[in-house]
């Protein structure tokens, strides 16, 4: 699913190999149990002549450290759609799955998700070169600056933009639609899994009754008994089938969380656009002010304008100094505007680059997810045919 061959991955192999439990004191000085994950890294060409691979470098990290890394990346590369982390808490569960973060199945799926996250970063043309990311993989001590948070806050402010780039607007709507539809899909899939579980498990009761019935039969007994065993097998098979389907659900979830990253890029664009518009507006206001002062006309309704009308004009000197101040301000404003424009264009260019890359990745990944889902369904059908054919053979021997 993740391409190899890009910068970092050419140099090293990365994996999240294990998970383990730790206990320690948390921020409020209470004992807590948490899970840590083992990050293994190894130089890419590491197969030695002897045949035994070089031992990897390892370090342990917990989920919150991954979160810190991601936050840092979000802030540092606002024009990049930063890959999402696996879910913090188990959502879209069907009844059998535990929603407990310490549940081994959940931990295992999270391990896979974290490895996927690191591989996505390592294969990203921009993010893979980040030095902090490299440190995350290799340095045990990892302290991140907290001022990342304040910049992050600005990303979620609400503001009105007059002229956003239409492509970003369309993208924002698309990602909202995608988010809605994937959430729906995951919810219903969980319900479907629940029901399917019920259907298979009830068949197990056939096993018991066939066994009891076979006890009072002479010729039919053996056939019934064996058929009963196959019914038990059928009922038990659903556990593996649904476990496998969870991987499909995880693939969908990744893209559900990706939509958030997409939306945050769109918001950043809106922010920049807003600042640009504000700067342009500010500049044009100042220019107008200057014009008024120079020509004596009051077009802008302002207190200054009114008071000057009511209480008399200013002196020539006063006016000239004001004009000079304004000119200075205008010059600064024009430079600011130029900078903002440049910033905006750079952002749009870089962002749109990444968006195109993301679109291709999304098409490919989701297509592959659907293929693997279809394969899962085929496998389930084959198992079903196998079991019922076996049972039929037993019935024939009755």
């Amino acid at each position: 699913m993740v391409e190899r061959g890009t910068a970092l991955l050419k140099k090293m192999e990365i994996s999240v190999a294990e998970a383990d439990k730790r206990t320690g004191k948390n921020t409020v000085n209470m004992q807590e149990t948490y899970t840590v994950y083992l990050i293994e890294t190894r130089p890419a060409e590491s197969v030695s002549e002897g045949g035994t691979p070089v031992a990897p470098d390892t370090l342990w990290r917990r989920y919150s450290e991954f979160e810190l890394l991601r936050t840092y990346l979000l802030v540092t590369y606002p024009y990049i759609i930063v890959p999402p982390l696996p879910e913090k808490r188990a959502e879209f569960v069907w009844h059998k799955l535990s929603a407990d973060n310490l549940d081994p199945d959940f931990v295992e799926r999270r391990r896979v998700g974290l490895e996927n996250f690191l591989l996505r970063l390592a294969s990203h043309p921009v993010l893979s070169n980040d030095s902090i990311f490299f440190l995350f993989l290799t340095e045990v001590l990892f302290l991140l600056f907290q001022k990342a948070d304040s910049r992050l806050k600005s990303l979620s402010a609400m503001f009105r933009v007059k002229n956003p780039d239409k492509r970003f607007t369309a993208l924002k709507h698309y990602s909202e639609d995608l988010s809605t539809v994937i959430s729906q899909l995951l919810r219903i899939r969980a319900r479907v899994a629940d029901r399917l579980y019920g259907v298979y498990k009830v068949h197990g009761n056939y096993g018991r009754v066939f066994s009891e019935w076979s006890a009072i039969e002479k010729e039919m007994g053996d056939g019934l008994q064996s058929a009963g065993h196959h019914m038990d097998t059928y009922a038990a098979s659903i556990d593996d089938i649904l476990e496998e389907e969870e991987h499909y659900a995880d693939q969908l979830k990744e893209y559900l969380f990706y939509t958030e990253a997409v939306r945050s890029v769109c918001r950043k664009h809106e922010l920049i656009q807003y600042e640009l518009e504000m700067a342009a507006q500010d500049l044009s206001y100042k220019k107008q002010q200057k014009e008024e002062l120079e020509t004596g006309t009051v077009r802008i309704f302002s207190l200054k304008g009114m008071t000057s009308k009511l209480f008399g004009q200013e002196t020539q000197e006063q006016r000239e100094s004001k004009v000079a101040a304004l000119e200075q301000s205008i010059q600064e404003g024009e430079e600011a505007l130029k900078e903002k424009n440049a910033e905006s264009q750079e952002f749009v260019e870089k962002a749109w680059n990444d968006i195109e890359r993301f679109k291709e990745q999304k098409e490919k990944d989701l297509r592959e997810a659907l293929i693997s889902y279809a394969i899962m369904q085929i496998s389930m059908c084959k198992k079903g045919i196998q079991v019922w054919s076996n049972a039929k053979e037993c019935f024939n021997k009755m």
Partner: protein, 443 residues
């Protein structure tokens, strides 16, 4: 035997059933009271059922062959076993199909076509086709039970259905009932004794089944079994009949359990189907907002829909074919149990009378009356009939359940095959690369 003037077919007019001759009436040998033959014929009626041409009188030889075949079912076990041997070729085939609704001012009801094909000489024609309604089957069953109390008569589907709960004229109900009636008739036709019952003959052949005047064919055994007072207490039931009773109880219980399990599965499948439909619909919704993924997602939605259809077929089959047969067997078990009870009664009567007679003999040396010996015969006859019927019932049960359960397995295999085929055909669609030019996302 004189052949009278040719008569029209019974079907061409309103003939009383009493006037319709059973070909056995051509038999020469009078039936002695000692022989508990289950069919006695009216002697002086003339053979009819032809359309004008004189009927060929069954030759005495063949009639006596028939009689002797009938006599066999009262012989001791060895011969009875032969008579019920499965090596006998079948010469009577019946089918129930073609349901039709009849609306009259008084009532609305369904009739079914009953087709018969046979080479038996008890039938004048090789083929018959008549229309019968449920009432007629019910009549037949009662007549068979009355005239053959020592034999197990197969059950009919439930007579009464709650109006308003079940639609008596829905396709599914009619179809299910028709299959059960067909089963019933086939079982009777396969039975070496019941299939020769004149009531069956009338049922299969008469154009208008006039039920008010039944053939007065109650035999001595029949009458005496019916008239047994409940006052006799059974002393010692032979172990094999006790075993039969126990088996039937347990078997009935297990069938009930299987019924409940199947119903539960149907409920779960129905709920699964509901969710699955919604699931497929979401993929369609998603497809609408995608470009390159549109066809793959529509494809997935299509596969889910196909699976839904296949699942619906599976569930329909379970409720229409599997469950009714299961329930019918429970009724069959009840019939068998009632025959066992009747047997107990006959044995009890015999034991009671014997005891009384022995006491009297001891008192005043009155010899044991003939009636008591006849009772003993009755008991032995009944036991023999029952054992033979039991064997046949067990064989049929084995066949029936083998068929029922392999059918269930087949339907499940079918369901998975359909689903698998759909998903497999989707894979190439999912794998094909889109070769369309990517339109640039400009404003």
């Amino acid at each position: 035997m004189s052949v009278g003037a040719p008569r029209g077919l019974a079907s061409s007019g309103q003939k009383l059933i009493t006037e319709i001759l059973h070909p056995l009436s051509a038999a020469e040998e009078p039936l002695s009271p000692g022989q508990d033959v289950t069919i006695s014929a009216e002697k002086d009626k003339e053979p009819g059922l032809t359309n004008g041409t004189p009927v060929e009188i069954s030759s005495p030889a063949s009639a006596s062959v028939l009689l002797s075949r009938l006599q066999l079912d009262c012989e001791p076990e060895a011969d009875a076993h032969d008579a019920f041997g499965s090596g006998e070729p079948r010469d009577l085939f019946v089918t129930v199909n073609d349901p039709k609704k009849h609306v009259s001012t008084m009532e609305t009801y369904i009739t079914y076509r009953v087709s018969t094909k046979t080479t038996r000489i008890e039938f004048d024609l090789p083929e018959y086709s008549v229309r019968r309604r449920y009432q007629d089957f019910d009549w037949l069953r009662i007549k068979l039970e009355d005239s053959q109390p020592t034999h197990l008569v197969p059950p009919l589907p439930e007579k009464f259905v709650m109006k308003g709960v079940v639609d008596r004229f829905s396709e599914e109900f009619v179809d299910t009932r028709m299959k059960a009636l067909d089963k019933f008739l086939k079982r009777v036709a396969d039975h070496p004794v019941l299939s020769f019952n004149p009531h069956l003959n009338a049922f299969l052949t008469a154009k208008d089944l006039n039920k008010r005047q039944g053939l007065a064919l109650l035999t001595k055994v029949g009458e005496s079994v019916k008239n047994v007072a409940g006052g006799y207490k059974l002393r010692a039931r032979p172990a094999e009949f006790s075993a039969m009773g126990e088996y039937l109880d347990t078997f009935s219980q297990k069938l009930g359990t299987i019924d409940r399990i199947s119903q539960r599965i149907l409920r779960e499948q129905s709920e699964y189907l509901t969710e699955l439909r919604e699931y497929g619909a979401v993929y369609s919704t998603w497809a609408a907002s995608e470009e390159q993924l549109q066809r793959p997602l529509e494809g997935v939605a299509g596969c889910v829909t196909t699976s839904c259809g296949a699942l619906e077929d599976l569930s329909d089959n379970m409720s229409q074919d599997f469950l009714p047969v299961l329930r019918e067997y429970v009724l069959y078990i009840e019939s068998m149990k009632s025959v066992l009870r009747k047997r107990d009664q006959v044995q009890a009567e015999y034991e009671g009378r014997l005891e009384a007679a022995v006491l009297r003999k001891q008192e005043d040396r009155t010899p044991i009356p003939v009636e008591v010996e006849k009772c003993q015969d009755k008991v032995e006859c009944f036991n023999a009939d029952l054992k033979a019927d039991w064997e046949r019932w067990q064989r049929n049960k084995r066949q029936d359940f083998k068929q029922l359960l392999t059918g269930m397995a087949d339907k499940n295999i079918n369901y998975y095959e359909k689903s698998q085929a759909a998903w497999e055909s989707l894979i190439p669609l999912l794998q094909e690369k889109q070769t369309e030019d990517k339109t640039s996302e400009t404003n």
